[in-house]
Amino acid sequence: MSGTPLVELRGIVKRFPGLVANDGVDLELQAGEVHALLGENGAGKTTLMNVLTGLYRPDEGEILVDGRPVSFRAPRHAIESGIGMVHQHFRLVESLTVAENVLLGWHTPRVWLGRKAGIRQVAELAERYRMQVHPEARVWQLSVGEQQRVEILKALYRGARVLILDEPSAVLTPQEADTLFEAVREMAVRGEAVVVITHKLDEVQAVADRITVLRRGRNVGVATRGELDSRALALLMVGRDVSLETAPAPVEQGEVTLRVQGASARSDRGLPALADVSFDVRAGQVFGIAGVAGNGQRELAEIVTGLRPLDAGVVEVAGQPLRGASARAAIDAGVAHIPEDRLGSGLVAGLSTTDNAILKAYRRPPVGRGPLVDRRAARALAERFLAAFEVSAVSPDAPVRLMSGGNLQRLLLARETAERPKVIVAVHPTRGLDVGGTETVRRVLREQQEAGAAILLISEDLDEVLALSDPVGVLHDGRLAGIVPRDRCDVEELGLLMGGATP
């Protein structure tokens, strides 16, 4: 690569109270390259991209576009300079069409949208980049992969020459991810620079021309494709050697602890979400559920944890049916729950570590004493969790919203495994965590498995399901499409099942 870089970041420093998120970071993007930005959570990737897209203003350092220094004071300025970003959580208006979403808020006349012309433009753009999507379809009808394409088209329509994709494959099936990366290559061929923020090493190897690795807010390396293998990259990223894949060693299995029999349930909208789902999980077994989000995973987790009523069927824990939809009954029966949205339901953002530590234990001694909560026992419990799981909290009295994702998940794990649960329902337990955090989660689940818990692992990350579970089931459209023993699992086949193909 040579010539003036399309975009260059020099010595970017961004400080937050008590934290230096970027500490003199350099990044150079050439036209026509796919550039992976690799780093653990909290390494400063997102901060750096927020600086580049004008959301944050750097405390030090400069941004050069086409060799000229620029200063972005609002996201709009970055967009005008040809920098576009596709966030992990899409920003689309679901009730509008694809074309309307693409045109929305950008050089649109105040009154008349110019529908016909807009639809044609969007169709042409989609055609040029080989991103199939119907411009007149309404966004809520689209799959996640298609919605992502709309987001990319939106950025391209706004003249993006630099496109930043934040963890783009996190929400996709393997097939969808392949399609996405083909489109990414196509963009590069057409002279765009594409930044892929990720912590998936195989993705980096598959798609990136160059790789910039961040650790603790600093550059720790820039490599071109093929220069470093996954192991070397992982080492750079975390600064230590990590065990990449641990195939699950067999654990002695006991009685059937969790039995789901003929379960059917509805979604929040009242539509059928689970249809006649049956499976058993034995003590010491991890039953993995793979599948793309929105195929009944959430509802499955909720019927087992008592949060959602069953239309038909039964959920039994250690031979006893869970009565009604009662989270309390599930908790009392020994069902622990590591929910999808840590800070939304698993933890209370505005309350302290202490208050969060007792969310399950506050009814029982030693914390709950009659109608009272023993503050000292609560604090002792919190301190025990903090110490045992190496959670770094500002103080047990500070609201947990100030904690990082990894610390939040450790606190949650500490609480949910404290009482030797019979059943653990873990939903996307490592999502958004860095390599170290992921390792901790896996280790803890493994310990619980060995201690005789029956674990229901629901994850979109197929690698994770395969690394931890035996057997693996695939949920598609509310049905359990297949239960496959670990040693007969085939990634391609599972991917097809997830996409709804019949084997």
Binding site: G344, V348, L359, G368
Partner: protein, 366 residues
């Protein structure tokens, strides 16, 4: 982030205790400054006026007693609003609950005028609480079962409660010797709260402080209070932990109504010694402001109520000088307005960031 022209309002990245204290002090200074401008514009000496207000509210024992008398009902109603707000319930009906509490306590006073004081007064407190709780029960149950907005139902019931007391003092409870005024007959001595020395400060103030301690302890150290805090912060988390949401909505509304009801008891038994239509100067509504200023915490409510009481007492005193009541009301309004505004300043920061392109739409940020 919100944009008003070139001004950008955004949450402070980290809530800083020092900043919030400074913002409040600055607000008081700013409010007094604005008040001074208003006074001087009207041709009155700001210095003398503030002196008058200060003397009336704090200068001596009697002044302080009057301030605390004014603060007493506001502590109750402020606690009522604050407690419900901790669970994101908005009790706009403290006014009506106060009237119902007053009516229930009065009924007891008229029914057992000769009961011993040590028995009658506690019973009246309980009756006041039950009256207020009963008035809040309907909105609580409707909210818990059908999701009916408690803001609307509690507000509407205020008018019903006030008219109910109107009916009672015009009809069944009217004092035959009142020469036509809508008043009940006076309470017997055993239905009257003891007062401190020769001041008007009565035991209701102590009950109010006690209620604040109870609310504080309830939230801090009981399972129920813990559930209230969790539900108020995150309903999904409360459901996740298996907390009974509906039951807690009803119970919180009962407690909130009960607190407001005791305000009614304390006013009729400590100040008016009978029941009549003007027992409340909008205490239920003022309680909303007191709760907000007190950041919905029990100690905060007590401080806010005392400051509010002082402002009222000072305002009355100023009206006896040549300053017209309307200026006094503008002054009070300005001070409150700025104080509430400062709440926002403590949590948000305002920055001057003009746009390069005036017609541009700011990208939504998270």
């Amino acid at each position: 982030m919100r944009r008003i022209g070139p001004i950008v309002v955004e949450p402070r990245p980290a809530a800083s205790r020092l900043a919030s204290v400074l913002a409040r002090l600055a607000a008081i200074a700013l409010a007094l400054g604005l008040g001074a401008l208003i006074l001087e514009a009207g041709g009155y000496s700001a210095r003398d006026s503030y002196r008058t207000m200060w003397d009336a509210a704090f200068a001596n024992r009697d002044a302080l007693a009057e301030t605390l008398v004014a603060a007493t009902p506001l502590i109750f109603t402020g606690l009522a609003v604050a407690f419900a707000a901790r669970m994101l319930l908005w009790n706009i009906g403290a006014e009506g609950q106060l009237f119902l509490g007053a009516a229930a306590a009065s009924w007891l006073a008229f029914s057992f005028p000769d009961a011993p004081r040590g028995l009658l007064l506690p019973a009246m407190v309980v009756a006041g609480a039950m009256g207020g709780a009963a008035w809040a029960a309907g909105p609580g149950v409707l909210r818990a079962t059908l999701g009916v907005s408690e803001i609307v139902t509690t507000l509407m019931l205020n008018f019903v409660a006030i008219l109910l007391v109107d009916y009672l003092v015009h009809g069944p409870w009217r004092d035959p010797d009142s020469s036509g005024f809508p008043l009940s007959k006076p309470f017997s001595p055993s239905a009257i709260l003891p007062s401190f020395g020769d001041t008007r400060l009565h035991a209701g103030f102590l009950i109010a402080l006690g209620a604040a301690v109870v609310v504080w302890a309830l939230l801090r150290s009981t399972r129920f209070g813990y559930e209230v805090r969790v539900i108020g912060e995150s309903q999904p988390a409360a459901r996740y932990a298996g907390m009974p949401l509906r039951r807690n909505i009803v119970v919180v509304m009962l407690v909130s109504g009960g607190l407001a009801g005791i305000a009614g008891m304390s006013e009729v038994s400590g100040i008016v010694f009978r029941i009549q239509p003007d027992i409340s100067a909008g205490f239920g509504y003022t309680g909303i402001i007191v709760a907000t200023l007190g950041r919905f915490s029990a100690p905060g409510v007590v401080v806010a109520a005392v400051l509010f009481g002082a402002l009222q007492v000072g305002g009355y005193a100023l009206q006896t000088t040549e300053v017209p009541p309307s200026i006094v009301q503008v002054l009070q309004g300005a001070i409150l307005f700025i104080a509430v505004g400062a709440e926002m300043l403590a949590r948000y920061r305002v920055r001057w960031r003009p746009r390069r392109e005036p017609a541009a739409v700011a990208e939504e940020t998270t």
